[in-house]
């Protein structure tokens, strides 16, 4: 078996007295969708922030592609192949949807000042490629018709899609999504699920934080459940769903059985 694409062991982060992340082990295999769920304030987003270099862990190690990995700064993380979206949408508001996606491609392109100033053929080719790919990505997530809209002009759900397209633009191996379905209705969630499915089929791994249990259970290969920063269950969706600890802390009455 191939080694896991990404692992974390013993991940810890404390804020004052709050143990936001407390010894989390995670593993993402190639082409898998891994769910990260748990009650509010369990530490899911904090985990993301640790993985993507926004926070520095108090303890713990990562490996990525079998090698030890130290997320020094967020831009390095993106370059290495982990892209993310944000729980509270953070798009570039003065830019159009298309430009937002173009920015996502930044770390996969390389033309510098001179290229831009002299419009070298290489630069023009690259620029062409950026536009085409960005457009293709907007198409992919289904908002191509809004390519020329400013990001702020999109509705909440479309902004979420745009964030996904922007994250995909860096051609990541791992796509980390923080509550992509928030603010979508059931039908739209189904469409989102199709999209995630497609992304997975295109060979990317997904790390997914989501509160919509149906979505998580429907798409994830593995699920990790956090509570108070600790892993309280880990395994297949079916397994996790049965765990009394998870029912107690997270699912509650609605989802018995």
């Amino acid at each position: 078996m191939k080694p896991a694409l990404f692992t974390s062991t013993g991940l810890q982060k404390h804020f004052g007295g709050v143990r936001a992340v407390d010894g989390v082990n995670l593993a993402i295999e190639h082409g898998q969708v891994v769910g990260l769920i748990g009650p509010n304030g369990a530490g899911k987003t904090s985990c993301f922030n640790l993985i993507t270099g926004l926070y520095t862990p108090d303890a713990g190690q990562f490996t990525f592609n079998g090698k030890p990995y130290k997320p020094s700064s967020p831009n390095e993380v993106a370059r290495m192949g982990i892209a993310r979206t944000f729980q509270n949408i953070r798009l570039f508001n003065s830019m159009t949807a298309l430009e937002n996606v173009c920015v996502g491609m930044h770390c996969r392109t390389g033309q510098g000042v001179l290229g831009a100033v002299f419009r070298t053929p290489a630069q023009r080719r690259e620029e062409q490629r950026i536009r085409e790919q960005a457009m293709a990505l907007l198409n992919y997530v289904g908002i191509a018709q809004y390519a020329d809209y400013l990001a702020t002009q999109l509705s909440y759900g479309d902004q979420r899609r745009l964030e996904i397209a922007r994250a995909l633009a860096s051609n990541p191996q791992v796509l980390a999504l923080d509550e992509p379905a928030a603010g979508m209705n059931a039908t739209e969630k189904l469409k989102l699920r199709e999209l995630l499915q497609r992304i997975r089929e295109d060979g990317k791994s997904i790390l997914l934080i989501e509160h919509d249990v149906k979505l998580v259970m429907g798409i994830c290969d593995q699920v990790t459940v956090l509570d108070y920063g600790k892993v309280i269950a880990q395994g297949t969706p079916a397994h996790v769903q049965q765990s009394p600890a998870v029912i107690e802390a997270y699912l509650g009455g609605l989802h018995h059985g």
Binding site: T45, N49, L54, F86, N88, R90
Partner: protein
């Protein structure tokens, strides 16, 4: 020893002046996030108004006691400053509440030019002599015995007006802190500063809160203006520029938006300048003199901000994603 003590007093006085101006600066910044470039000009208006008021009183009765004159100066300056500030807030800043971040800044610069010019029209271009209100003679705090190396009058002194400045700025800081921390207005100010829209959902009238802040800030500027003019005994349409700049620096040094920060920043800046001017030459063996005082002050500022990006007491904006 006498020199060091005196320099510390100099720093304290200068710092208190900076702090006094910085308090108003920081309040307005705290609620609007606006660098109110016109704050120094409001101070100038305060000083010149007090000048006119006091001169008029002296004209009527030259034997009025100094404290009465000074008080009337302050009493005259405050409402004028408030009115001026209210007007500029209403007409030059409020319409820009939702404009891009730098628009109000430019408007403020425009206001500052206009106020200076108006003052030039009203009070003329010449330096005005601020009437003596409190006795000009120093109060000697301590006398050192002259030694053969230092056989001059070794005194450590402070003037009544300087004592007043230190006391007033400390009192105003306390009053402001109390207001911001404890009162309803204070709470409304902090909410408005963070998000006026959401604040309005709490039933807070953002416009009046902001206007109130401006007016309070203006009152502070008025007091500061009178103190500055009374201390240096001159007033001039351009006198607001430098205090405004220093106060801005002080407010940022302490953490802009924070009242203790303004006080701390002001005092610190005063001390830095005072000790810098006094000792840079000695410390560097005459290589750097007092002309490097401002460079020194800015260098300290830059150093502080590189270590603490939001000032000494500023809130650290934690970036949550």
């Amino acid at each position: 020893m006498d020199i060091l003590l005196q320099q510390l007093i100099n720093g304290l006085v200068l710092g208190s002046i900076y702090a006094l101006v910085a308090l108003g600066y920081t309040m307005v910044y705290g609620v609007l996030g606006l660098i109110n470039f016109a704050h120094g000009e409001v101070l100038m208006i305060g000083a010149l108004t007090a000048f006119s008021a006091i001169s008029a009183l002296v004209g009527i009765n030259p034997d009025l006691p100094g404290w009465l004159l000074l008080t009337s100066g302050v009493v005259a300056a405050i409402p004028v400053c408030m009115a001026v500030s209210f007007t500029i807030e209403r007409f030059a800043y409020r319409p820009l509440r939702n404009a891009p971040r730098l628009a109000p800044l430019i408007s403020a610069i425009g206001v500052s030019i206009v106020l200076q010019t108006l003052a030039m029209i009203i009070w003329g271009r010449n330096y005005l002599i601020f009437p003596t209100t409190l006795p000009n003679d120093p109060i000697v705090l301590h006398t050192f015995v002259p030694t053969p190396e230092a056989d001059y009058e070794r005194i450590v002194s402070i003037t009544p007006i300087q004592i007043l400045i230190v006391v007033v700025s400390a009192l105003l800081m306390l009053a402001l802190t109390f207001m911001v921390k404890k009162s309803r207005l204070g709470k409304a100010m902090r909410a408005t500063s963070e998000n006026p829209q959401i604040a309005s959902l709490m039933g807070i009238n953002a416009n009046s809160v902001i206007a109130a802040t401006f007016v309070i800030g203006a009152a502070l500027a008025g007091v500061a203006g009178v103190m500055v003019a009374a201390n240096y005994a001159v007033a001039h349409f351009y006198m607001g520029f430098l205090p405004g700049l220093k106060a801005f620096t002080a407010a940022v040094l302490g953490g802009i938006g924070n009242i203790y920060g303004a006080m701390l920043g002001g005092l610190l800046l005063g001390m830095i300048e005072s000790l810098g001017a006094g000792y840079l030459g000695q410390l560097t063996g005459g290589f750097l003199g007092s002309h490097y005082q401002d460079i020194f002050a800015f260098a300290v500022l830059i150093l502080v901000l590189t270590l603490r990006p939001s000032g000494l007491l500023g809130e650290r904006v934690s970036d949550r994603a």
